[in-house]
């Protein structure tokens, strides 16, 4: 209090001196007094700047220390590329699987159709009593072979159709993988926004966005992650290689 009062008094004294010097036209002395007047404010400014610099330094250090960004750039971004490549090859496989079934099925359907047309013609002539005995014998033979193969061929078509259906499971599997990559991109974005906030010095001391991002980070215990993608961190955890593996594991658990 006393100091403040003294400060006020001396500031007042200095101000009076400044007025006197200015009235006397003594610019040099006025300038000197002006600098003395300014001194306490400059110190405050420097103190404030120093404090801010220290905070920024600490914030940057802590950000670097536990940042998900490091993990993201070192492991998950390369993994994400691998995941998307896997999606490309899965969709390619599914398409080939579908097209192969169609390649095999179309000629079967066409040949069934053609033979049915020929038989219909002969049958119509037979009904119109326009068929010779020789021609009738031929028709009977054709019908025999048609009946024999139709069952087989339509069964083959049915199985090709279900092959086409099963090939569509890629949409679910790749969809899960793509969603995982989308989550990663969102997390990366949040972390980058956090970084920008830090460097713009208007940061909040707690780095809120970083905490939000951390919450849903990684693959926690029990959390669903979708299909296992080869050549990624997925392979590091213990995964089953197929249904036989699942059955073996479950039977070891008494299933």
């Amino acid at each position: 209090m006393e100091n403040d009062a003294n400060g006020m008094n001396s500031q007042l004294d200095l101000a009076r001196q400044l007025v006197e010097h200015l009235e006397a036209g003594d610019d040099e002395s006025a300038d000197l007094v002006l600098r003395q007047l300014r001194a306490p404010y400059e110190r405050e400014l420097f103190d404030e700047l120093g404090k801010l610099t220290r905070e920024l330094h600490e914030a940057l250090n802590s950000f670097r220390g536990d940042s998900r960004l490091v993990e993201l750039t070192q492991d998950e971004i390369p993994d994400a590329k691998e995941r998307l490549n896997y999606v490309v090859s899965m969709t390619e496989q599914a398409t080939h699987r579908t097209l192969n079934a169609i390649d095999e099925g179309l000629p079967i359907a066409e040949s069934l159709n053609q033979r049915a047309q020929i038989l219909t013609e002969s049958w119509t002539r037979f009904r119109g009593r326009k068929l010779s005995v020789e021609e009738f014998r031929e028709l009977a033979q054709e019908l025999d072979s048609f009946f024999l193969t139709t069952g087989e061929e339509t069964e083959r078509l049915r199985s090709l159709m279900s092959e086409v259906m099963m090939a569509q499971d890629f949409q679910d599997l790749t969809g899960q993988i793509i969603r995982r990559v989308i989550r990663l991109v969102q997390e990366l974005e949040e972390n980058l926004v956090g970084l920008i906030r830090l460097s713009s010095a208007r940061m909040e001391p707690d780095g809120k966005s970083r905490q939000v991002a951390g919450k849903d980070a990684g693959s926690g215990e029990g959390r669903a992650v979708g299909p296992v993608v080869p050549n990624t961190q997925d392979a590091a955890s213990e995964v089953v290689s197929g249904q036989d593996d699942v059955d073996a594991l479950l039977s070891s658990l008494g299933f």
Binding site: S162, M166, Q168, A224, G226, V246
Partner: protein
Amino acid sequence: MLLELHVDKGMKILIVDDFSTMRRIIKNLLRDLGFTNTMEADDGTSALPMLKSGSFDFLVTDWNMPNMEGIELLRTVRSDPALKDLPVLMVTAEAKRDQIVEAAQAGVNGYIVKPFTAETLKEKIDKIFERLES
């Protein structure tokens, strides 16, 4: 052939998966096996009210779904006095050993990893109902 006599083809089945394409595939496969009384839900939160009001006989569920995952749905079913005995088959891409153990401990009746085949689905359904009979 004998086994098929045990499984009631008219039983009411709920298929839960967030991908409509997978729901259609499972629905088609079940229809091929003779099960035509099926309904669909896209995740645990929409499945639960259906299960509670719908007298279902069998639940086929995915694991990785938004809002409520399959494992959570399974636990909720097992802890509900009215639903606790409902047979549950999990059909999922989740392939970690820990997860399969977790599902087994939560009381799953069967576990199929995607991609799967029609034969696998049939085999697991037969097995589940064979065990329930005995």
